[in-house]
Amino acid sequence: MAKYLKMAWRNLWRNWRRTSIALVAMVLGLILLLFFDGMIKGSDQAIYGNAVRLYGGNIQVHAAGFRAKANRLPLYPLTDAGTIVQTVRAQPQVVAAAQRINTGGLISSREGAFPVSITAIEPAIEAPYSIQAANVTAGRFLLEGEGDAILIGKGLADLLQVSAGDRVTLLGHSKHETMRQRTMTIVGIYDLKMPELEKRMVFITLLEAQTLYNLYNQATEVAVSLQNVNQEGATIAALQAALPDYEVDSWATLRPEIRDTLQTKLAFTSFFGIFVILIASIGILNLQLMAVFERTREMGVLAALGMKGRQVIGLFLLEGTLIGVLGAVIGGLLGGLLMGLLSQIGIDFSFSAGLGEITALMGDRLYPTVTIGDIISRGLIVILIAALASLYPAWQAARKEPADALHHV
């Protein structure tokens, strides 16, 4: 085997120009594939990371039936939120669990009225984990149990032309169809540099929401913060077992449309990338076919010396695979380097913020990421395609009659 490897390697470099050019095609193709992967994965991470940070909680517990209508924020009260919080806190990974009420509403000032989602929180529990609390730029965060107080984002404050201390009218949907209007004081303004998302979210205290929206001593959600990200799966499974009558979700299951969108993109870009590699493999096919013709006499000699057709096939396959391996290694290195660089610098994506919630969640800059696993798996595809491309030339080479081949000019 080592001997074949040596022969194949030498054969590759007998015409270094040709081999290098074929390599360039493979390397470009692989870099392109990795770039796509990085973009998709980077936006996936940014979207879920931002969703967790902005909306709060790695995991949420809701009453049955919530998941199906999650984007409408239905007011399905949890029958015993206190017990749920106790159960959740018993889990080892959980650092905090807080009750919430989420409902839709309209906020208005003299400037106009804007639909918002109202999140009612327990400031005493959430303040240490809340990204909004950490980014209050004017005024202060909500205080436990205070009434007629509202925290809004900078994006919304600009729109309403209000500042901390001003009063706004909050119209909220309460249980059983009625709307409740309430004049509230803006106690603080948070600034996350995501105006599009800030426009949609306001915060009040849980106690206030319970009285306003006919949910005395009730909550519609228990938001759970975990020690680390990527532990959602195990904790969800454990919680779901402990709370069989409720729905336990992460952002991935609660907002499947985000994943759907990314998956469609992934399918589309993968198709594009594979197509490019296919074109590149034509280069290898060409190269190998050429090598076969060029070395017909050599094949004759090898065959006359007793080399079997099977072995000739092996030799040519090995040469093709070697180009693939080389391409995969170089492309993987260059692609990994490029992605590493881009993951530091980021790509400006601020232009897409106004296009909808999903793009707004990506943030202003997209930081593509690829893992070693991605590089290896894409590299293997390149090697496989390279090997397949040399199959036909190898068969051509093996099928030559030794005597005829020897007479070939």
Binding site: R18, V24, Y76, Q263, V276, I282, M290
Partner: protein
């Protein structure tokens, strides 16, 4: 040597190793086909979304009060058009204008017992041709009539997701021009399915007069929506209708965000185009380089017979040209078939995805034929093919006759 003869030699040379030539040609063809499909697809999506937006949301031209802010959906009288009917009559009198109708936009909340949805309430003049596109997509119930005081229309998707049907009540809440909460329980007269998912999920239509009384805006309107016979007339009509108090916005300005985003995205796709072209170039260079090595002795003979370096170079360039042209021909055919398929079948983007984005798209994206772009791509492919052959051609031309004869 006559140029014509060089062409013949070039053509014959390609035929000597038919398999290799066909493979190279295939690489050119596949590369170009990919580019054609990609660009056709992008053009299709952009165009579809833009036309949907013009048809359902923005119209070709809008007249608004100078202080009106679309983002704020203001209802204050100072931000609204005070004399929309007068403006409508003036606009409708112009020969370029197909239809003109005042509209009132109101941010509202639609609630059922457990849910509340923020959406846009749109006060329309139901009999105007501006709303013909919606009227033609009615799937249940009746379209609105102008003096209906209790009826609304909504998208079928919105109604379905809230469990509402024709004849049932929709509870709507708005903040009126005076900043006061107003609520109304209106009857769903009909459901439409425009195909643009975000519109079908977030628009509730009611007669303008009812919307005005609901919000205490009297006979004011947010804007006058104008549809033109020719999209290109927008600037000209805008100039004619503009006055200090009234600004005229064309479809270009109204869809600026979308158009800008597409433009930025285009620069990204241009990079993709370039990479594909580069790979095609590499393959062509490879093929020709091989052809040069294979025929080194032949080159030596030709040189010994007096063929000049320039001519040898020309011969190789001709080979590249023939490969390129044939590849482009095949590529255009494959690409067109692909675009045709993408135009008829399309690629589903997922309903949820289409709904959450502000782009006016249905659940399926379609490609479109853009002959000019395709022609440019073909031309570029040809140029790249020729450029890629320069090195092999130069390499061949530079060979020393004596050494070449010895096959070195």
């Amino acid at each position: 040597m006559a140029l014509g003869k060089l062409w013949v030699i070039a053509f014959r040379d390609l035929g000597r190793n038919r398999r290799r030539s066909i493979l190279s040609l295939l690489a050119v063809a596949l590369g170009l086909a990919l580019l054609i499909m990609l660009n056709g697809f992008i053009a299709g999506v952009t165009d579809e979304a833009l036309q949907n937006s013009i048809r359902l949301r923005t119209g070709h031209l809008q007249l608004r009060a100078a202080s009106y802010s679309e983002e704020k959906v203001s209802l204050q009288w100072k931000d609204l058009l005070a004399n929309p009917d007068e403006l409508a009559t003036r606009a409708a009198a112009m020969s370029e204008v197909k239809a003109a109708a005042p509209v009132l936009w109101v941010g509202a909340i639609l609630s059922t017992s457990d849910e509340a949805v923020g959406l846009q309430l749109i006060g329309i003049e139901p009999e105007s041709a501006v709303y013909a596109p919606i009227q033609s997509t009615m799937v249940a119930g009746e379209f609105l009539i102008a003096d209906d005081r209790t009826g609304v229309l909504m998208g079928k998707r919105l109604a379905d997701s809230l469990g509402l049907a024709v004849g049932q009540k929709a509870n709507l809440a708005v903040v009126n021009a005076d900043g006061q909460l107003e609520e109304a329980s209106l009857t769903i007269r009909g459901l439409f399915a425009s195909g643009v998912l975000s519109y079908d999920e977030s628009a509730v239509l009611l007669p303008l007069a009812r919307a005005q009384s609901f919000t205490r805006t009297d006979n004011h309107a947010s804007a006058l929506i104008i549809l033109l016979h020719q999209q290109e007339d927008a600037e000209q009509v805008a100039a004619a209708l503009q006055s200090p108090a009234v600004v005229a916005l064309t479809w270009r300005t109204l869809n600026q965000l979308f158009l800008q985003t597409m433009q930025t995205a285009m620069s990204f796709y241009t990079i993709l185009d370039a990479i594909v072209m580069l790979i095609v170039a590499v393959i062509i260079a490879n093929t020709l380089l091989m052809a040069v090595f294979e025929r080194i002795r032949e080159m030596g003979i030709l040189a010994a017979l007096g063929m000049k370096g320039r001519q040898i170079m020309q011969m190789f360039l001709f080979e590249a040209a023939i490969l390129g042209l044939a590849g482009i021909g095949l590529g255009v055919v494959i690409g067109s078939v692909g675009v045709l398929w993408l135009a008829n079948v399309g690629i589903p983007i997922g309903e949820a995805a289409a709904t959450t984005s502000n782009i006016a798209l249905g659940g399926v994206m379609h490609a479109r034929f853009v002959p000019t772009t395709f022609a440019w791509l073909a031309l570029w492919t040809f140029i790249i093919t020729l450029l890629a052959s320069i090195y092999p051609a130069w390499f061949a031309a530079r060979l020393e006759p004596v050494q070449a004869l010895h096959g070195k």
